[in-house]
Subunit: 794 residues, 2 copies
C-alpha cells in the first residue's frame, strides 16, 4: 500500500468512525460499541435526528482534518445543513475537543454511551448544530445564512480559511442565493478565504432539490456567473470519492494559496480573483440502509431524518439498524476501552488547529474592546433647549469616524448598510475610510476602494449576515438601516437572539460584541417615500426576545444619540436597537444633561414642564423618539400659553426598557421610580415613536396604567409633508394638546375655545399642505420658548 | 423614411412625451406645457421623486406598447424599480387609462397641470408605484419581489405575458436572486410567459450596482446558469437603442411564441425551456442633465432622485430644468390643448390591451369565488369531548383535496409551502394533484409532475411572493409553513398588508382573495428540532397591521380547523393566520359544536367547566391554541378532582381578535360580551399559544384586565419532549393548576397539600424524561373525563 492509498484508507476509517458515532447518537442509549447483540432497550424510545446530510458532513470534516494537518491551516467549519448535528458532535468527540469542553463525556465507552444518549434527549444536547456544539458559529436551523456567516468570519482574518458547507436545500433560499456575491467584497490581501462546498445531497424533506437536478453544465454556468471556479466531486464509491476529494481539496487549496500570495506580494494590484469552490455530489443518507420495508432510502429523501423508524419495537427494523452499525466495523475503529485507535486518531489536527477548538468559533475569546473616543468631544454645544437645529446622525457619523480611526490597526470594526451610509448622514466616516468594493472602480466613483471599513450592498440579509459572522468571530460593528426595511431580517435577528440566549448559558462561550442597529430614515420622516417606507414595528418584534438580550433606545436629539452609540459599542451579548432621525431637528440637551438623562434611561424634563419636578402635576406629557418629543414639547408650549396655570410634567424616555418592571427586564424601573415619574393617578399622554401597543404591553402592570393614553403610529401614511405624517396619526402637537384637554374634563368650559382653535389650526394645516405642498412656515420654524431658561437641561 | 425608421421615430416621440411628463411630475406645479418661461412659482417647493430609473422604465413601456399592438398581446408590466412612479403615471396618462380611472385628471393642459401637481404632493399620489397606480400589482418600495410577483401572475394565465423590469439594485437582494429559479416551476403549456428585463441602470443611491459592474461574459454565465437565454440591449444613443430594443423584443417574443407553440402542440413532452430574457444596459438618468454644479449627474448615482435640487430658489438651476424639459420638444408632442398628438397616441394599444387597463392588474375584477365542499363532510365524528385523537391538519388536507378537485377546471387555486405539504399532513391533496416541477423527474419520485396545484420550494420568500402575485391577479391560495420560519417573510407580509389597506380605500380596485396561512409544526411540537424552530411571534407582528386586514385563528382541534379553513377561503382582502398542530391530539368538538363555537369566535365550554355557564365562577381558565387548550383542560381536570367545589369556567378562544374591543377591531367583542365571558372581577388564568404580551396588549382596556394572568411562550426551549416544552414555559397542566391555586388565597390552607402534589409531579416528570427520553405514559395517555357527558360540545 503506497502512502496515498494508506492515507485514503485511514481517512475512510476515520469517516466510518464518525458515521458510526452519528448513527449511534440518533439511535442508541446503551450498548454503544455493540459488544452484545442489539436489544430493544438499547434503542431510544423517541428517535429524533437527521441522518441524510450527516455522512456528507462527516466526509468533509475528515478531509478538512487531513488538509489542516498537511498544511498547518486554521479552518473554520461552517455547517449550513446544521440539522446534521450528529456529524459535528461526532467529529469533535473524535478529535477530543468535545471532551475538553464537556469532561463528563469522556473519550471512552462510558463517554460514548453518554454521548449517544444525550443527543436529542431531554437535558441533553439539541439535534441541530447549536451554541452547545464546539467549533460552530452557526445554528443552521433556519436555513439561508451559512455562506454569509462564512464571509463575515473571513473579513479581516487573513490567516483563516472558512470552509462553508452549503446544503442544496439551503441553496434554494434567497439569502443564500444572494450570498454568493459576497466574493465582490472579500479582499484576498487582508481578508481570509472562504471555500464554499456546495453539497448536492439530492433531496430535501420530501422533494429533490433544484440545484441537484440541474446538470453540471448549468451549474458550472451559474457559479462561473457568480464569479467562482467550480470543482466537481461526484460519486458514491467511498474509496474513489476519498481520492477525488483529497485531490480536489489539494488543488483548491493551492489555488487559494496562489491567489493570496499574488494579492499579498508587494506592489501588486488587487483584483477580484476567481475563487475556487467545490460541488460535492453524493448520495443522501450515504452508507445508510439502501431500502427499508421495500422502499428506497439511500440516495432518496426517505433518508432525511430517521431511516429505520421502529428499531425499538420491531425486530426486523432493529436488525437493519444493527447491520448498518456493524457495516462500519467498529471493532476496527475503537479499542477495547472505546477510544479511537491511535493510528486513526492521528489524522486529526492538534490543539487549536482542531476545528472544534478553533478560537474563532468561540469569538468571545478573541474579542478585544474597541478603543473609543470621548463622545463629548463631538457633542453639540447648546445655549439652551431648542437653541440649535442639527442632524443627529451627522454627529454620530463624526463619532464613528473616530471609532474607525482609533481601531484602524486592530481592523476589528465594520459599518454595514444597504447603500445608505451617506444618505443616513454618516458620511464623515469617509474622511478616514472607504467602501470596500472588489469590482471595477471608475475615476469618478467616490469612496470605493479595495479596502474599507464600510460595507454597502442592497441586501439587508447580507449586511446582517456579514455582521453576525463578524461579531461571532470576535469583532465589532454597527448596521445602519432604513427603519421600515429592517423587518427584512426579522428572522435572522430572531435566530441571533436565540444564539445569544443559549450561549449566555454556556460558561465556555465567551461574550461577543453586541449587535448594534441604527434605524434611521424612520417612519416620521419617510414622508417623501410613502407608505411602503413607513413601519416602526421592529421594536415590537425585538421586544419579544429575552430581556437579557434586547435594548431599545430612542434618543431624542444628537447628544443623547452620541451617548447611546458610545454606550452600545461598549456592551456585549446584546441586541441594541437605536432609532434616531437624520433630518435637521431641534436639539434639547447639552452633553452633561444628555449623559445624566441617558444614564437614568428616562426622566423628567423640568425645563419643559410647567411645574417643578418635585411637585404633583395635573397631567404628564411623556415622549419617546425624536419627532414625538418635538411634538410633545410643542403641545406643552401651546397648552401653557392657553392655560398658564395647568401643571404639566414632561417625561422623556430614551431607554424603552425602563418602562418594564425591574422584575421583567434588567433596565426596568422599580414601581416606586415609575410611579414617581408617571404619577399614580394623573392622566398620561404618551407620544411614542412606534405602534402604541408596545407601550401598553410594557406598562400594563404599572399602577397608573389605566390612565395611559398613547399616541403613535396608527398605520396611516402616504407621500406627504413631515408634519402631515404626524397629523395623519394624531401624534402632532395639536392632537396631543387636544388629547390633554380631553383628559381634563374639569377644564372643559375654560378650554372649549382653545380646543376650537386647535381644531381650526389642524384644518388650516390640511388646507395649506394641499395647496402648497409643504408645511406652514410657523410649523417648520416653531419658536421654542426655552431661550430664557438660565440653565439648559437641568 | 421607411416604415421601420418611421416607427422608431414615433416611438422616440412617445418616449420623449413620457419623459417630459415624468420630469414635469417631479418638478412642476404650474405652466405644464412651458407656454411661458419657467418661473420660480411654477416649481414645487419640495421636490420629491426619483428620476434616475424613470427614463429606462419609460423606454420599456413604449416598446411594450409597440409589441402589444403588433402582436395583440396581453402584457402585464411589473415595475421592480417602483420608486420610478412618474414613469407609470406618465404612461397610463398618455394611453388614457389614467383619466378613465381618475376623470378629474383629464387628457388636456388642465389635466396635465393636475397630474404634475398631485405627484408626491399632500393629498395627491405617492412617489412610488402603488395601489393608486393603474396597471400595477406591485409596489416596489421594498425591493426584492418583482420577479416572484411576475411568476405568481403568470401561473395559470396561459395568455398572459408578464414583462418584469428588475432593477439592478433590487437584483442584489436575496429574494430576487432566488426568484430567477422560478422558471423551474413555470409550465409553458398551461402558464403564461415571464419576460425578465434586467435593467442595468448602473447605480443605486450612492454606489454602483454589483450586476452593472460585472462584464457581459459573467452576466451571460450567470443567467445561463439560472436557465435563461440573455439578450443584451446596450447603449445610450436613443435612436440606435430604439432600433436595438425593438429588434430584440421581436426576437424574444418569437422565441416565447415558439416555446409556447411547442409545448402546446398535441402529444408534446413538456421540458423546461430556456426562456429568453433581456439585459438592458442604459445610463441612469438617461436624457437628463449631464452635469449640475460641475458634478457628473447623468449615468451616475447623482441622478437617482432629483438631479437639479434648487430649481425654485436658484435661477441657474431653474434654467437647467427648463432646458432639460424643452429638450424633449413638447411642442412636437402635445397639441394646443395639451393632448398627445394623435399620430403619437396611435402607438398605444386600445381598451383592455393598454397596460394601465389590463384586468389582471386589478385582479379583483377577475376573481371568481372558489367552489367549496361542505366541510362537515370531512368532520370528525366524535362521541364525546376527548373521545378521539386525530391529526387536525390531516383532516384539513382531505378538505383541501376536495377544494382542489372542485376547482380543477377553473385552475384558480394553489397550495404553497417550503417542502412541507406532506410533513404538515396535508398529503391527501396528492390523491388529486401533484407538485409542479419542471426539472428532471425520476421513476421513483413521488407526486412530481409538469402540472400540479402544489408548489414546493425551500424558500419562504418564493412561496409568499408567488402566492401574492397569484392572488393579486384574481386567484386563490394557501401557504402552509413552519410557524417559526414564517418570520422570514415578515417584511413581505407587511408590504402586502399595506397594499390591501390602501387598495381598500380605492373604489376601482376590486377585492382580491385573502392571503391565507396555515402555521403548523408550531412551537409546542418542535420539541424534536429544538430552539431555532420555536417561535410563535408572527401573530404579534401581524396584529400591528390595520384591524380591517388581519385575523388570527387558533382552532383547538380538527373540526374547528375545518370550519376556520373553510371560512378563510371565503373571505377577501384579509390576511388570515391559522395556527394549528399536525400531531395526534385529543379532539373536543363535534362539527355542530365547532361551527357554533367558531362563529362566536370564543365561548364558554360548559362541558369542561365545573359550574354552569350562566353562573358566576370562582375562576376562569381561558385558552387559545391546541396545546394550551389541552393543558388547560387537564389542569381543570386536576383541580376538580382535588377541589370538587371549586367553580371553574373554561373559555376557549378561536378568533384572537375577539379579545380586542369592538371599537378597535371588527371582530372584537363588546365590553358586555367580554365581561360576560371573562367576568368583571374573577381571576383569569389564560393559557395562550404564543408570547403572553399579545393577550395583554389586546385586552388592556377590558374591565377585568388586571386579573388576567397569561401563560405562554417565555422563549425557553430546546430539543426535548412535547410535554417538557410546556413545562419549560409553565404552560403545562401542573403549572396552570398551581397558578390557579395562587390566585385563590382563600383556598391556601385546603390546597396546600394538593399544591405539594403538583410540585412533586413536576419533579417526577423532569426525572422521568431525563431518564427515559419520553413523556410519562400517564401524560401521553391522559384520561379525559368527558365520556359520561350526555351531549358533547353543547
Amino acid at each position: 500500500m503506497n502512502d496515498r492509498s494508506a492515507s485514503i484508507e485511514m481517512m475512510d476509517r476515520y469517516w466510518r468512525a464518525a458515521n458510526y458515532l452519528s448513527v449511534g447518537q440518533i439511535y442508541l442509549m446503551d450498548n454503544p460499541l455493540l459488544r452484545e447483540p442489539l436489544r430493544a432497550e438499547h434503542v431510544k424510545p423517541r428517535l429524533l435526528g437527521h441522518w441524510g446530510t450527516t455522512p456528507g458532513l462527516n466526509f468533509i470534516y475528515v478531509h478538512l482534518n487531513r488538509l489542516i494537518r498537511d498544511r498547518d491551516l486554521d479552518v473554520l467549519y461552517v455547517c449550513g445543513p446544521g440539522h446534521g448535528g450528529p456529524a459535528m458532535v461526532a467529529n469533535t468527540w473524535l478529535e477530543g475537543s468535545y471532551s475538553e469542553i464537556y469532561p463528563e463525556i469522556g473519550r471512552d465507552a462510558d463517554g460514548m454511551k453518554k454521548l449517544f444518549k444525550q443527543f436529542s434527549f431531554p437535558g441533553g444536547v439539541p439535534s441541530h448544530v447549536a451554541p452547545e456544539t464546539p467549533g460552530s458559529i452557526h445554528e443552521g436551523g433556519e436555513l439561508g445564512y451559512a455562506l454569509v456567516h462564512a464571509f463575515g468570519a473571513a473579513f479581516d482574518n487573513p490567516g483563516l480559511v472558512v470552509a462553508c458547507v452549503v446544503g442544496d436545500g439551503e441553496a434554494e433560499t434567497g439569502p443564500l442565493a444572494a450570498a454568493w456575491h459576497s466574493n465582490k467584497f472579500l479582499n484576498p490581501r487582508v481578508d481570509g478565504a472562504v471555500l464554499p462546498i456546495l453539497h448536492l445531497n439530492g433531496y430535501k424533506i420530501a422533494n429533490p432539490t433544484l440545484l441537484a437536478r440541474m446538470d453540471d453544465k448549468e451549474l458550472e454556468h451559474l457559479f462561473r456567473g457568480y464569479g467562482y471556479d467550480p470543482f466537481f466531486v461526484e460519486g458514491s464509491d467511498p474509496i474513489s470519492m476519498h481520492g477525488l476529494m483529497a485531490a480536489t481539496l489539494d488543488e483548491v487549496m493551492d489555488r487559494i494559496r496562489d491567489i493570496q500570495a499574488d494579492a499579498r506580494s508587494d506592489g501588486s494590484i488587487v483584483a477580484r480573483p476567481r475563487w475556487p469552490m467545490v460541488v460535492l455530489r453524493s448520495p443522501k443518507g450515504w452508507t445508510g440502509p439502501k431500502e427499508v420495508d421495500g422502499k428506497k432510502v439511500e440516495d432518496f429523501w426517505r433518508s432525511h431524518q430517521v431511516p429505520v423508524s421502529n428499531a425499538r419495537g420491531d425486530a426486523a427494523h432493529r436488525k437493519i439498524l444493527e447491520d448498518w452499525l456493524r457495516s462500519y466495523r467498529p471493532e476496527e475503529l475503537f479499542d477495547s476501552k472505546g477510544g479511537l485507535l491511535p493510528e486513526i486518531a492521528a489524522l486529526a489536527p492538534e490543539g487549536e488547529k482542531r476545528m472544534g477548538a478553533l478560537p474563532h468559533a468561540n469569538g468571545g475569546v478573541l474579542r478585544k474592546d474597541l478603543v473609543l473616543p470621548d463622545w463629548k468631544t463631538f457633542a453639540l454645544d447648546l445655549p439652551h433647549p431648542g437653541g440649535k437645529t442639527a442632524e443627529a446622525t451627522r454627529l454620530m457619523g463624526v463619532y464613528l469616524r473616530d471609532v474607525i480611526s482609533l481601531n484602524a490597526d486592530a481592523r476589528n470594526f465594520r459599518l454595514m448598510g444597504p447603500d445608505e451610509t451617506a444618505s443616513n448622514r454618516l458620511d464623515a466616516v469617509f474622511e478616514v475610510t472607504d467602501r470596500v468594493w472588489m469590482e471595477g472602480i471608475e475615476p469618478y466613483d467616490m469612496h470605493l476602494a479595495r479596502e474599507g471599513r464600510v460595507m454597502e450592498v442592497l441586501s439587508e440579509h447580507l449586511c446582517q449576515g456579514w455582521l453576525e459572522g463578524y461579531l461571532l468571530t470576535g469583532r465589532h460593528g454597527l448596521f445602519s438601516c432604513y427603519e421600515a426595511f429592517i423587518h427584512i431580517v426579522d428572522s435572522m435577528v430572531n435566530q441571533h437572539a436565540k444564539w445569544l440566549k443559549t450561549s449566555a448559558e454556556l460558561p465556555w462561550r465567551r461574550p461577543i460584541a453586541s449587535l448594534n442597529y441604527l434605524l434611521t430614515s424612520h417612519v416620521w420622516r419617510q414622508d417623501h417615500n410613502g407608505f411602503s417606507h413607513q413601519d416602526p414595528g421592529f421594536a415590537d418584534f425585538v421586544a419579544n426576545k429575552k430581556a437579557d438580550t434586547v435594548r431599545l433606545y430612542f434618543p431624542p436629539d444628537a447628544n443623547t444619540l452620541l451617548w447611546v452609540t458610545d454606550h452600545c459599542l461598549r456592551t456585549w451579548n446584546r441586541i441594541n436597537v437605536i432609532t434616531a432621525g437624520k433630518q435637521p431637528a431641534p436639539q434639547w440637551l447639552t452633553a452633561e444633561a444628555a449623559e445624566a438623562h441617558c444614564r437614568a434611561g428616562a426622566g423628567i424634563w423640568e425645563w419643559a414642564s410647567t411645574c417643578p419636578a418635585d411637585e404633583e402635576p395635573d397631567i404628564v406629557m411623556a415622549c419617546a423618539g425624536d419627532v414625538p418629543t418635538m411634538e410633545a414639547l410643542a403641545a406643552v408650549d401651546l397648552l401653557k400659553t392657553a392655560l398658564p396655570d395647568l401643571r404639566i410634567r414632561v417625561v422623556n424616555v430614551v431607554d424603552l426598557m425602563t418602562l418594564q418592571s425591574n422584575s421583567e427586564h434588567p433596565h426596568g424601573f422599580t414601581d416606586e421610580i415609575f410611579d414617581r415619574l408617571f404619577t399614580k393617578d394623573k392622566p398620561v399622554i404618551f407620544a411614542y415613536h412606534g405602534y402604541p401597543y408596545l407601550i401598553h404591553r410594557l406598562t400594563y402592570r404599572r399602577t397608573n396604567h389605566d390612565n395611559l393614553h398613547v399616541h403613535g403610529f396608527r398605520e396611516e401614511g402616504t407621500t406627504t409633508t413631515p408634519f402631515d405624517m404626524a397629523v395623519m396619526n394624531q401624534l402632532d402637537r395639536f392632537h396631543l394638546a387636544l388629547a390633554t384637554l380631553r383628559r381634563l374634563p374639569r377644564l372643559a368650559e375654560r378650554s372649549a375655545q382653545f380646543a376650537a382653535t386647535l381644531e381650526r389650526r389642524l384644518e388650516e394645516h390640511k388646507a395649506f399642505v394641499r395647496e402648497h405642498g409643504e408645511d406652514m412656515p410657523e410649523i417648520r420654524n416653531w419658536s421654542w420658548p426655552y431661550g430664557t431658561a438660565t440653565d439648559a437641561g437641568d
